[in-house]
């Protein structure tokens, strides 16, 4: 039904507006605040991890620096001849191990050709040949060197700190092996969360520490993601404890030092589809790189938990809003439906009241119309009584006269019946449903109803009914009431003076039009504007309700039509009712489709 669609769309609109007005700001706030929080928290986490990685890197650098310094001191303080003494070397090693808790595994002195001349340590490496070892090449070329981790002669991972003494063919190299396990512990300490792992690789991507598990991304790939960096063979300067970095006198740092922030990036692991936070920080003058990897989910687990929580709250509140909107709109629309229904009922009652009012107006005319035949019947009956009186007196009965009288009574009775039928056909028609109505027929019926009244008011009714006008979709009962109201008003206007009432039906611009024009006194312009207002009347109190035209207006508007009025004082008034054309064409006189000429179709009222 049309009404159902209207209420559905009304409800949809209410629902939509409530949802939009309440959810939009909610979502916007959630999105903005969420984004802000997300960004700030990420920064915080990244900064924190960054700092951690940085500290570790510095720590490792310091560790390397310390070990190197020790060997450097050793090489500088003791002449080479003393160092050749393996016992002395052994004492030195024990001293170092005491100080450093066994970080130094062994100590050796290598000549320029690469032969180890003296050795102190757990392995038998005297006269070991290091000529082709990369660390040895390096150690000869530079004043000091720290090698990458390698298996070396002993087959265990280790790396070497070497310091060169002298130059050229007389050069000696003091070397010491650093305990890999102790070194590895430095990096292993850097473990945060479930997935955090740290390891060091050299520029070739070889592990310098043993990662606790295979990293999700191979080191080569990690290295490829880094910006190329200048590699220095100098160790970064390690500031003295408590001093401000950058102001430390001494070795000028030619490589990135501790002011280098770890470089971080987010990488996707193709195999698992998970994202990794990758921190990298050059070590050992850029030769090594400390990597710290952590699963994004793990790193930001607090953030994601907060986000899940607020999303949950958001969803719950959205659901609550939606539920409220749903109930509210349903309640509002139900209320509107109820009010509309009440209004509808009220309208029907008003229309019914208006109808009774128009019947009341008709009643005077009808009463008089019915009075005449009734009076005749009463008198004829009296006349028959008179005649019977003659019979009682013994005089002959004029049978012919009695018969005439009875026939007159029958005739007048039939007249009464016709009148009551006419009235009842109007009063009984109460069905407000919309049907296809032949307007012309309706006009004729209404004219039939008011004929007698018009006669006594001295009004001549002329109808100009256009043949072939479309049927009109409307309630015949209501349309009849509209017409009767207009005609009654016209008759009222001409009651004193008499006149002509023209009723025209026509079809123009897709609309069926009924004109009801009288030659009455007309309506003053001031009243014309208020003529369709309810309770507006110029009739004396008790005569008019002021509802007739407002009901007409309501009915016609409800049918989707329109009603207009023109009036000139002293000339007359014309009402025009525009009605939407329905289906089908009214055709009573198919052989004569032309409009009836003015006056040729009158005859409903005597002159």
């Amino acid at each position: 039904m049309n009404g159902d669609r209207y209420y559905h769309s009304l409800r949809r609109n209410i629902l939509g507006i409530i949802l939009a007005v309440s959810l939009l700001p909610l979502l916007m706030i959630a999105a903005i605040a969420g984004w802000q929080f997300h960004t700030a928290y990420r920064h915080k986490v990244v900064d924190h991890l960054s700092e951690l990685v940085n500290n570790h890197a510095r720590h490792i650098d310091t560790f390397l620096q310390e070990k190197l310094s020790d060997i450097q001191v050793l090489a500088a303080v003791h002449p080479v001849d003393r160092l050749k003494d393996e016992k002395f070397l052994g004492r030195l090693l024990i001293l170092l191990q005491e100080k450093h808790g066994g970080v130094f595994v062994d100590l050796g002195l290598v000549d320029a050709r690469g032969f180890q001349q003296a050795y102190a340590g757990p392995f038998q490496l005297t006269q070991a040949r290091y000529t082709d070892a990369p660390w040895f090449q390096e150690a000869l070329a530079r004043p000091y060197t720290i090698s990458d981790v390698f298996l070396g002669l002993r087959g265990l991972p280790h790396f070497i700190v070497a310091v060169r003494i002298g130059e050229g063919a007389d050069a000696w190299v003091v070397r010491s092996t650093i305990d890999f396990v102790a070194f590895n512990r430095l990096v292993e300490n850097l473990r945060i969360g479930r997935t955090g792992q740290a390891f060091i690789v050299n520029r070739q991507g070889e592990f310098q520490t043993r990662p606790n598990r295979e990293p999700d991304l191979p080191p080569q790939e990690l290295l490829a993601g880094l910006q190329p960096q200048k590699v220095s063979h100098d160790l970064p300067a390690v500031p003295a404890e408590g001093s401000v970095p950058g102001r430390v006198p001494g070795r000028a740092p030619s490589a990135p030092s501790d002011d280098v922030r770890p470089f971080w990036t987010e990488r996707r692991v193709p195999e698992t589809g998970r994202s990794l936070l990758v921190f990298s920080r050059p070590l050992k003058g850029g030769q090594w790189i400390l990597f710290y990897l952590q699963d994004v989910q793990d790193a930001f687990s607090d953030l994601y938990r907060a986000r899940r929580l607020s999303l949950g709250v958001l969803v719950l509140s959205a659901l609550a809003v939606a539920g409220t909107a749903w109930t509210l709109s349903r309640r509002v629309v139900n209320r509107i439906i109820q009010v509309d229904r009440e209004k509808e009922m009220m309208n029907e009652q008003v229309i019914e009241a208006g109808k009774l009012a128009s019947i009341g107006e008709l009643a005077a005319g009808i009463a008089h119309e019915i009075n005449n035949p009734v009076a005749i019947m009463v008198e004829e009956a009296g006349w028959v009584e008179d005649l019977l009186g003659d019979l009682e007196k013994g005089e002959p009965l004029d049978v012919e006269e009695v018969r005439r009288s009875l026939s007159q009574i029958r005739t007048q009775g039939a007249r009464c019946k016709e009148i009551t039928h006419k009235l009842l056909s109007f009063a009984r028609r109460t069905d407000p449903t919309v049907q296809q109505v032949q307007l012309n027929k309706l006009v004729q019926e209404v004219v039939g109803l008011v004929e007698q009244r018009a006669k006594y008011a001295g009004v001549r009714i002329r109808t100009h009914l256009t043949d072939g006008i479309p049927w009109v979709s409307m309630s015949p009962a209501e349309m009849q009431q509209v017409l009767l109201n207009l005609v009654n008003n016209a008759l009222d206007a001409m009651e004193k003076t008499g006149g002509t009432l023209d009723i025209t039906t026509r079809f123009e611009d897709g609309r069926v039009i009924v004109d009801v024009a009288d030659t009455g006194e007309g309506i003053p312009p001031a009243n014309l504007q208020r003529i369709f207002d309810p309770f507006f009347t110029t009739k004396p109190v008790g005569r008019g309700t002021g509802l007739g035209l407002s009901i007409c207006y309501g009915i016609v508007k409800k049918m989707g039509g329109d009603i207009t009025v023109n009036s000139a004082v002293g000339v007359g008034t014309a009402f025009h009712v525009y009605l939407p054309a329905g289906d089908g064409v009214e055709r009573e006189r198919a052989e004569n489709p032309k409009e009836e000429e003015d006056g040729s179709n009158d005859g409903f009222a005597g002159g």
Binding site: A363, A364, A367, H368, N371, N372, P373, V374, A375, I376, V378, E379, E380, G382, W383, D386, S405, Q408, T411, Q412, K455, Y456, G458, G606
Partner: protein, 133 residues
């Protein structure tokens, strides 16, 4: 169209003019009143009534107030001008008491609502004629 009653019961024949546009009513009333010694002249319209009154005089007139051609009140006014002494009894329909009051204001003798008892009408006619005499 002056018609004599069929029964001359009253010594002094009464002449009245009945103006009513219902022919059936006028005819039967003429017959019944005629039986009771009242000579009734019928007129089927206001105009005809005025013509009849112009021809001769009547003791009284019975006038229907609602007619097609002329308003009964108008006819009454003209009657009163033509023969101010002639009593006029008005017949009105139910619900037209206002018209009846108007008529009384314009000098009508009395009014009756239609349909009325013949006895009542006779009585009114006798009163009216009696006053005139």
């Amino acid at each position: 169209m002056a018609t004599m009653g069929t029964h001359e019961a009253h010594p002094h024949a009464v002449d009245i003019l009945l103006v009513d546009d219902e022919r059936g009513f006028a005819d039967v009333l003429r017959r019944r009143l005629g039986r009771r010694g009242i000579r009734v002249t019928t007129a089927l319209s206001g105009t005809e009534g005025i013509q009849k009154l112009r021809d001769r005089r009547f003791h009284a007139a019975v006038l229907d107030l609602k007619m097609e051609d002329m308003d009964g009140i108008e006819v009454l006014k003209i009657f009163k001008r033509m023969d101010p002494d002639m009593p006029v009894i008005m017949l009105t329909g139910h619900g037209s008491e206002q018209a009846a009051r108007d008529g009384m204001a314009h000098g009508a003798f009395d009014y009756l609502t239609k349909p009325c008892e013949l006895e009542e009408l006779l009585e009114k006619i006798c009163q009216a004629v009696g006053r005139r005499r």
